[in-house]
């Protein structure tokens, strides 16, 4: 699965999970999810569970950062990199937890 496909799947997930009750809300790939009130601290929990079940990506503690998960585009990049390195190793090379 390439980055575009990951982005599309993640966008669909975020829309149906966090935005189904806000039909007029437009979310760009580069919009900050936390700042725009799309995902809160509890939502991050759900997002991480989704990344594990959907892409087999286990997000390590040190990977839960704004640069990896801050926007849809960041998530797609992070997930693709992780999958490229094997689904259980960190995008930053930190490796298995």
């Amino acid at each position: 699965m390439d980055e575009t496909a990951v982005l599309a799947r993640t966008r669909a997930y975020v829309t149906e999970t966090f935005l189904y009750m806000r039909p007029g809300f437009t979310l760009a790939d580069q919009d900050r999810l936390l700042q725009r009130g799309v995902i809160d601290s509890m939502g991050v929990m759900e997002l991480i569970a989704f990344l594990r079940s959907e892409f087999g990506v286990d997000v390590a503690d040190e990977d839960i950062t704004e640069s990896n998960l801050g926007t849809l585009a960041d998530i797609a990049r992070y997930v693709t990199a992780k999958r490229g390195n094997g689904a259980t190793s960190g995008a930053n090379g930190a490796g298995r937890r």
Binding site: Y20, M21, M45, E46, V59, I64, E66
Partner: protein
């Protein structure tokens, strides 16, 4: 105990006894042991009684010697014995040995205001009609344990323990107050004096109001305000003082002519109140606990430990998911408000269990977490401040991972989780401590319909709360500010009301709160913060004190929040019939409160098992309870019978000549 209601007319056009009977009938659950009424040309009073003290002699309305001062009263003034002695010394003569009569004489002696009310130690709401002065004096206890609602409609004053009695008059309309609803979806409850009913007010805790019938004006006064004169160091005698205070607080709350039981959650606070009750009660203690089929919510292991130590007769109300759904419509009807948690439902069932075992008075541990900084919210506040003092530290924010141990550990880690706390608001905002919770709760508003959105557009519940803060607020420490906010936004209007008074008195059970003796509050508010929150250890001084009182496992266990099943309660395996019907797109479109497509999306996700988050759980409970409330009170209110069934043991106070 009891329920009260009344009407005061501006013009002497009379109060129909049938109307008073309808008001009393609407409150019958609060006082199944008897009822009484009084009516003259201007004023009508109604009362339903739960007999606890002076079972034979305490009927109401109750008057002074010549009937010129009459009271209807709900609650307990625990120091009535001492007040009666003081009043007798001043020349007053008593006919009963009931705290109700003490209030009548106290009013005569000290007048209707602060001089009288500041002498009372208890949980009460009452109305005193002074025929000579042409006034009705309404008052409510310091922390809002007992409710009192009122409205002025067409120039007349109506008041009652529950709003449903106001609507039973047929002279007061039930309408939605969207701003009250918006407060529920911010704070978990509307903030007194506001309610979710337009034009219906809740008398603020610690205040009174005087209706002047000649002018047709209601004047308000405050006799008690929360204050936090925090000391720099813990006084050497602090533990001894706490010991004396809790001991006397419980002893006062065991004053009853019927057996007193105890609610036992398995936490520190209820274990303390039960232990002290067992020590001081002339009756063998009966304890009552809720257990949950869901092990994440269940505390039975600790409940059993305490019950064994106390050798109490222990009764258990087991709660499975379906139990919550089965009683939820009744829970909403009694609470008279939308809610964002199902936690009141098990309390409703617990009160029923107590009543089935002939207990109509229970001690319970509420208030301790607010007084001694027990909640995770206080730790969160302390940690947020600690981190913001060194914003570049990468070590400090890791402490957030130790908060909320009952949440899924997968989610409470990492920079994102930590930053969500740090970016939730400025420490200069007076609401700093509560902004994360208020923001999370407010996500419910995403489901609002366009109409409701427009109706609340001009108001901001947070700004209104900021504007209501007392003068001393800014001088208190950050944690005392948090404690204050917790008391006024959550304890009083939600825990003591939606989850407290309404659930227990739905079954004629009176809850008493040893930690909410104002002397205990004033003791705690003077303690330095570190006596309460020591590092991340909550209720430090209480734990020290409790060492010899409760089992070690309970004394040392961390605070576990009380939670109840939510989404699964209503959707496993299939939605309950009424849930399907109430949340149907046609139904939600008809009531117009929420966006039907958004609710349909929520229902779909609940049904598929995808809605597992806090956010969606609270949205489901909020939408469902609001729709139920709207039907029960606004669109399909119960029709009051023209001739209500006669009540037993009726007392009719003769009109004065």
């Amino acid at each position: 105990m009891c329920g009260l209601a009344g009407v005061a007319r501006r013009e002497p056009r009379g109060v129909a006894p049938e109307m008073l009977d309808r008001m009393a009938a609407a409150l019958r659950h609060r006082g199944p042991d008897g009822s009484g009424r009084y009516a003259d040309a201007r004023v009508g009073l109604a009362h339903v009684r739960l007999s606890i003290i002076d079972v034979a002699g305490g009927a109401q309305p109750l008057g002074n010697e010549d009937g010129s001062v009459l009271i209807v009263y709900n609650g307990e003034v625990y120091n009535y014995v001492e007040l009666q002695a003081e009043l007798e010394a001043a020349g007053h003569r008593f006919r009963t040995r009931c705290d109700t009569e003490v209030l009548v004489h106290a009013y005569e002696q000290w007048g209707g205001g602060t001089a009288m009310l500041s002498r009372l130690n208890g949980q009460f709401a009452f109305a005193i009609y002074d025929a000579r002065a042409g006034t009705v004096f309404l008052a409510r206890d310091r922390f809002g344990v007992r409710p009192l609602f009122y409205t002025v409609s067409n120039g007349d004053l109506y008041f009652a323990s529950e709003a449903k009695a106001l609507f039973a008059t047929g002279e007061v309309d039930a309408e939605l107050d969207p701003i009250g609803l918006d407060q529920v979806f911010t704070f978990w409850a509307a903030r007194p004096p506001r309610t979710v009913f337009r034009g219906i007010s809740s008398l603020e805790p610690g205040t009174f109001a005087v209706w002047n019938g000649r002018e047709g004006v209601l004047r308000h006064g405050r006799y008690y305000g929360l204050d936090y004169p925090e000391a720099g160091e813990e006084p050497a005698e602090a533990l001894a003082s706490l010991d004396e205070l809790l001991d006397t607080s419980v002893a006062l709350r065991l004053r009853s002519d019927v057996p007193v039981g105890g609610y036992l959650s398995g936490g520190l606070d209820s274990s303390i109140s039960c232990a002290l009750a067992a020590r001081g009660s002339p009756f063998s203690l009966r304890t009552f606990s809720v257990t949950f089929d869901d092990p994440r919510l269940d505390e039975r292991e600790f409940q059993q430990l305490v019950a064994q130590q106390l050798r109490s007769c222990h009764y258990v109300q087991a709660i499975g998911a379906h139990d919550v759904a089965a009683v939820f419509p009744e829970v909403v009807r009694h609470a008279e408000t939308p809610m964002v948690r199902t936690a009141p439902a098990p309390m409703y069932l617990l009160a029923r269990l107590a009543r089935e075992h002939d207990i109509k008075v229970v001690l319970t541990g509420e208030g301790s977490d607010e007084l001694f900084l027990g909640y995770d919210l206080f730790k969160e506040t302390a940690l947020r401040l600690f981190c913001l003092r060194q914003p570049h530290s990468t070590v400090r924010p890791r402490l957030f991972d130790r908060l909320y141990p009952y949440l899924d550990p997968q989610g409470r880690r990492g920079d994102f989780w930590r930053r969500s706390f740090l970016e939730a608001g400025s420490p200069h905002d007076p609401l700093f401590s509560h902004l994360p919770r208020f923001q999370l709760t407010a996500r419910i508003k995403d489901f609002y319909s366009a109409d409701i959105r427009a109706a609340v557009a001009g108001s901001d519940p947070l700004d209104e709360l900021r504007a209501s803060l007392p003068a001393g607020f800014a001088t208190w420490s950050a944690l005392n500010r948090a404690a204050y906010l917790e008391m006024v936004t959550l304890l009083s209007p939600y825990l003591l009301s939606t989850q407290g008074d309404r659930m227990s008195l739905a079954h004629g059970v009176e809850a008493r709160y040893p930690f909410l003796d104002h002397r205990v509050f004033e003791f705690a508010s003077r303690l330095p913060t570190q006596s309460k929150l020591l590092g991340l250890r909550e209720k430090a001084i209480l734990r020290r004190w409790a060492r010899d009182v409760v089992p070690p496992a309970v004394q040392q266990r961390p605070k576990q929040p009380y939670r109840a099943p939510d989404v699964p309660a209503f959707f496993t395996p299939q939605p309950a019939d009424y849930v399907r019907e109430v949340l149907d797109e046609v139904s939600t479109a008809r009531s117009g409160l929420f966006e039907p497509a958004a609710v349909a999306g929520l229902v779909r996700r609940c049904q598929s098992g995808a809605a597992t988050s806090f956010r969606e759980s609270q949205a489901l409970v909020a939408v469902l309870s609001t729709e139920l409330w709207y039907r029960q009170f606004i669109t399909e209110p119960p029709r009051a019978p023209a001739q209500p069934a006669p009540l037993d043991d009726r007392v009719t106070v003769a009109s004065r000549s």
